[in-house]
């Protein structure tokens, strides 16, 4: 698993987003074991402490859990996974709306735009 990072925002936040995306998209399956901290750090060429920090936060959000001495796993909690998808979708939508508004589209126009695109 190799992630690419930008220099211009905190790496641990980028990593959290990337792992969330990988979980939501099914790239990491529920119950699957996560690569070790060192491995993640090595492959993405980032600091192991940064990886650790990101994993702590994901664990705090109950998206991953630690099995004693045996590494970290993706949650199997279906409710959690559903919430995660909603959270990511809502972030994407927010980003989209902000950009569309910057382009000068009204809410009505945005809706029309989406409908036309879907046909």
């Amino acid at each position: 698993m190799e992630f690419q990072f930008e220099n211009n925002s905190p790496i641990y936040l980028q990593l959290i987003q990337k792992i969330k995306m990988a979980i939501a998209s099914g790239e990491f399956k529920p119950g699957e074991k996560l690569p070790a901290v060192r491995e993640l750090a090595m492959e993405s060429k980032i600091n192991p402490n940064t990886v650790q920090r990101a994993l702590f936060q994901l664990e705090d959000e109950h998206l991953i859990f630690t099995q004693r001495t045996n590494g970290k796993y993706i949650t199997e909690d279906k409710q959690k996974l559903k919430e995660l998808k909603k959270e990511l979708a809502s972030n994407l939508l927010q980003e989209f709306l902000v950009k569309m508004q910057q382009l000068g589209f009204s809410k009505q126009e945005i809706l029309e735009f989406i409908e036309r695109k879907e046909k």
């Binding site: 990072f5 930008e6 220099n7 211009n8 925002s9 060429k45 980032i46 600091n47 192991p48 402490n49």
Partner: protein, 233 residues
């Protein structure tokens, strides 16, 4: 977290030129720290003081609570800015020197790293390109089982592909409890592997911060923060 290196009111003059001015820095265990500053800002002088190659004009450098000396040299693996290896010898011979000099040097590891770097240990050092010489030196330094690694401009002479290689080599060969100090002015290339940054300018420490906090604070890269900070000093 506990301090491994402490500088207290550290000053270094060369004649009447002040190179380091009242430097106070604490470096904690288990971190990767970028010592960042323009050319001539005092990075190498600070590193030499930590390694006991220079003596402070006033103030103190302490490595695990003691002044640099025989004990600190055992636990610090140091990559100097300039090469000091005998050019006319083969890498094999140089590996032998390292293993004679340092009790914590792992010969097998050195050979393993050279193989990964596709460098033939039977070659004489002088037949290698500048970039490959740098890689050999770094491989030797990283083959010591040290508590602290201090790398003075480890990526200066190599192309971007080799830089990636070198960063992997560093990350791959550094124990979790170990501390790594990298000095460079090529910030963009290494900033992703840093925990912490220290900015130095005209012999003064202008900032010490967590890398990600700094990105948050300046809403951009470390390199960007560096430019912002240095605009105002």
């Amino acid at each position: 977290m506990s301090a491994i290196i402490t500088c207290e009111h550290l000053n270094k003059d060369y004649g009447n030129k002040k190179i380091l001015k009242d430097v106070n820095v604490t470096i904690e265990k288990g971190r990767i720290i970028g010592l960042l500053g323009p050319n001539g800002s005092g990075k190498t002088t600070l590193i030499k003081l930590i390694n006991g190659l220079l003596v402070p004009t006033s103030g103190n450098v302490l490595v695990l609570g003691s002044k640099p000396g025989v004990e600190s040299k055992k636990i610090i693996s140091y990559l100097p800015e300039r090469t000091y290896l005998p050019d006319n010898e083969t890498i094999e011979q140089i590996i032998q020197y390292f293993s004679d000099f340092y009790f914590n040097f792992h010969v097998e590891k050195a050979y393993e790293l050279l193989e990964k770097l596709k460098i033939n240990p039977k070659d004489k050092l002088k037949t290698l390109s500048k970039g490959n010489k740098e890689k050999v030196q770094l491989a030797l330094v990283m083959s010591r089982d040290a508590d602290v690694y201090i790398l003075d401009e480890p990526i200066g002479g190599v192309d971007p592909v080799a830089r990636d290689y070198i960063l992997s080599l560093i990350l791959d060969n550094f124990k979790e409890e170990a501390t790594l100090i990298i000095s460079t002015h090529l910030i963009a290339d290494i900033e992703k592997i840093l925990d912490e940054v220290i900015f130095i300018h005209e012999g003064k420490i202008v900032l010490q911060s967590s890398a990600d906090e700094l990105r948050m604070q300046y809403k951009g890269s470390i390199e960007n923060a560096f430019k912002e900070v240095f605009k105002n000093v």
